[in-house]
């Protein structure tokens, strides 16, 4: 039960989410080995990674059902981490042609 009284999902729902995660992981592996997708490998894998990340955070960590403050705390940490990564990569010329 979340702080604002919302019930968490059923066990069956969690199993469905786990199956989706397993399928996405298998798709990641498949994409990795398909030569025809080499040119779009990075964006495709990043989208699938983000989808898996979001599924675990929203449903297994219950952010979808809990107080938005908790989502804010998590997203703030993620924002700082992402900003640090991108700024350091830029400083070291990783985005230069």
């Amino acid at each position: 039960m979340s702080e604002d009284g919302h019930a968490y999902p059923s066990s069956r729902f969690y199993v469905v989410i786990a199956l989706i995660l397993a399928v996405l992981t298998a798709m990641e592996l498949m994409v990795f080995y398909v030569d025809a997708l080499a040119s779009v490998l990075v964006p495709v894998l990043m989208v699938m990674m983000s989808a898996k990340f979001a599924l675990v955070a929203m449903f297994f960590m219950h952010l979808k059902f809990d107080s938005k403050l908790l989502t804010g705390i998590f997203l703030w940490g993620l924002f700082i981490a992402t900003a640090v990564i991108l700024m350091l990569l830029a400083m070291f010329g990783k985005f230069a042609g």
Binding site: M1, E3, D4, Y8, S10, S11, Y14, V15, I17, A18, L21, A22, T25, E28, L29, F32, L41, V42, L45, M46, M48, M49, K52, F53, V56, A57, F60, M61, H62, D66, S67, L69, L70, I73, F74, W76, G77, L78, I80, A81, T82, V84, I85, L88, L89, F92, K94
Partner: protein, 188 residues
């Protein structure tokens, strides 16, 4: 523990704040790994050693351990002691399998001539994945203590938040690996 002025329990709010700070820790380690990627002047190189199918299997195991964890939470919330013990045990057990896979991989790298100090890849790889592995090990110990408490009958539905907080930590370790699996292995 009582709720804070936000209506959220102290321990849960504390765990989320900790997770937020952990994002920054892993962010710096990931940044370091990415900056030095491809700058090795001596081998062995990542492409020679990374075993993608093997790591995919251990990734799958860690993902499924997250399922075990939410099932443990669901069990403790409905007062199912037997289910709580089973799912907590399986969560820790799957974590141990993941750690075994990581130990095997580290051992393989060292035997192939890639110890920690060999090149930039090995230094950043071992520190990043080793830090994550240490978090998994901490989580396994945590699952162990919860399992013992459940076995002693000291973990009923009134302690659901205790299991939920352990679960938050465990799922965070899982989402970090989701990122590392893509960045280290699939985009190698």
């Amino acid at each position: 523990m009582g709720p804070t002025s936000t209506g959220i329990g102290n321990r849960k709010l504390g765990m989320w704040t900790f997770i937020g700070s952990e994002c920054m820790l892993f962010g710096t380690l990931i940044a370091t790994f990415l900056i030095y990627r491809g700058h090795n002047v001596v081998g062995p190189y990542p492409d020679d050693l990374l075993n993608i199918p093997f790591i995919t299997v251990t990734t799958f195991v860690l993902l499924m351990s997250s399922l075990m964890m939410v099932l443990a939470l669901a069990a403790v919330q409905r007062g199912d002691v037997r289910g709580t013990k089973l799912w907590l045990f399986l969560t820790g057990f799957f974590g141990l399998i993941f750690l075994g896979g990581q130990f095997f991989e580290f051992n393989h790298f060292v035997h192939e001539g890639l110890p920690l100090s060999r090149n930039l890849f090995s230094a950043t790889f071992f520190v990043l994945t080793g830090t994550h592995g240490a978090h998994v090990a901490g989580g396994v110990l945590w699952m162990g203590t919860l399992f013992v408490r459940a076995a002693q009958g000291k973990l009923d539905s009134s302690h659901a938040e205790t299991v939920e907080i352990a679960g938050l930590y465990w799922h965070f370790v899982d989402v970090v690996w989701i990122v590392l699996f893509t960045l280290i292995y699939l985009l190698s």
